[in-house]
Symmetry: C2
Subunit: 172 residues, 2 copies
DNA sequence: GTTTCCGTTCAGTCAAGACTGAATAAACTT
DNA sequence: AAGTTTATTCAGTCTTGACTGAACGGAAAC
């Protein structure tokens, strides 16, 4: 089962994928599908395009868009002479996602540090708590690196990103 | 509100924190509290200690432990002459967590790559899909770095971890 | 063999939240 | 002003999954 697939099938499979992926990241599934549709269809997708294209109520589109806007992943646009709202991906949505993750990581890291600071000096738990904090510390510095890698302006003339050609099979 | 706090209060606040943190990471809250209790109380925490200490049903402890064991975060032990099971943190739980995250990241990365490979050469979506894939690529390499940082044996004689002394306020 | 102690499984309850339809609001058209 | 078109809000439904109590199974103690 393979060879050729119609672009429509590829497209809708991709949108379903992004729905599931985003769900795993903590977003509602529909918001993920909206995100996927914006990736695939590109600029200037209208509100009703989203509702009909994803076969979902306009109310769901409204709340999904709100969530995506709050997270800074999507930008709302208007066309002169048109009443509808149009949407597109925000400039660098992925860096924004990472920044959000970073914020959360930093918060939990400092909560742990807070507990450690309250601990009496002889507490036997201190070492294990420190290891727990270290985990979030290295997570934090890793995110920082990923951010650097991601929003490096990429001098090459195309919008091509640096990691695009990375070998996918080089795990560990 | 401050000055001194009893160790018990500090402990239970910490356990509640880990419950919430783990919930944000996708684990059930009780599993997070079990994890927190193992961090704080250390080796050899018995099954019934967990149930009574966290004030939850033994059934909940059972499933939480199962989840934590499946993820490789917790080890089950027994004491000679005792019928009860005892638990402690697995050797390097945080590296294991990262490995799990890495696995998922890699999976979604290859799903996106799969879609890209099916795309006709002239597809306008190609660039945006590539950027999406790049995001997971840099996430992946960041995780790899965090792993290196984490399970570096740390030559210093104590179990102290390298990032322990990192300045918490150096964000970006 | 019977009892006791533990852990697991399973059916059922409960709460959280995703999604919808209907009502509302706002802006433009006529 | 009345009527369209479009987005948001809100009450209600439905699904998912966390958690519990009770039944079960197995292993040691008696």
């Amino acid at each position: 089962m393979s060879a050729e697939q119609s672009l429509d099938v590829i497209r809708s499979e991709f949108i379903e994928k992004t729905g599931l992926i985003s769900q795993a990241e903590g977003l509602p599934r529909i918001a993920g599908r909206v995100f996927g549709m914006l990736i695939f269809d590109g600029d200037m997708v209208s509100f009703s395009d989203l509702a009909t294209g994803l076969q979902v109520s306009r109310a769901s589109i409204s709340t999904s868009i709100r969530i995506l806007e709050e997270r800074g992943l999507v930008k709302r646009m208007t066309k002169p002479g048109e009443r509808q709202d149009y949407f597109q991906l925000a400039p660098n949505p992925y860096a924004t996602m990472l920044t959000g993750i970073q914020k959360r990581t930093l918060a939990t890291r400092s909560e742990i540090a807070d507990t450690i600071s309250k601990l009496p000096a002889n507490a036997s738990a201190a070492d294990r708590l420190a290891a727990y904090a270290d985990f979030y510390a290295s997570l934090d510095s890793a995110i920082k690196l990923a951010l650097d890698e991601l929003d490096a302006p990429t001098t090459s003339k195309s919008g091509q990103h640096p990691a695009a050609s990375k070998d996918l099979s080089d795990d560990r």
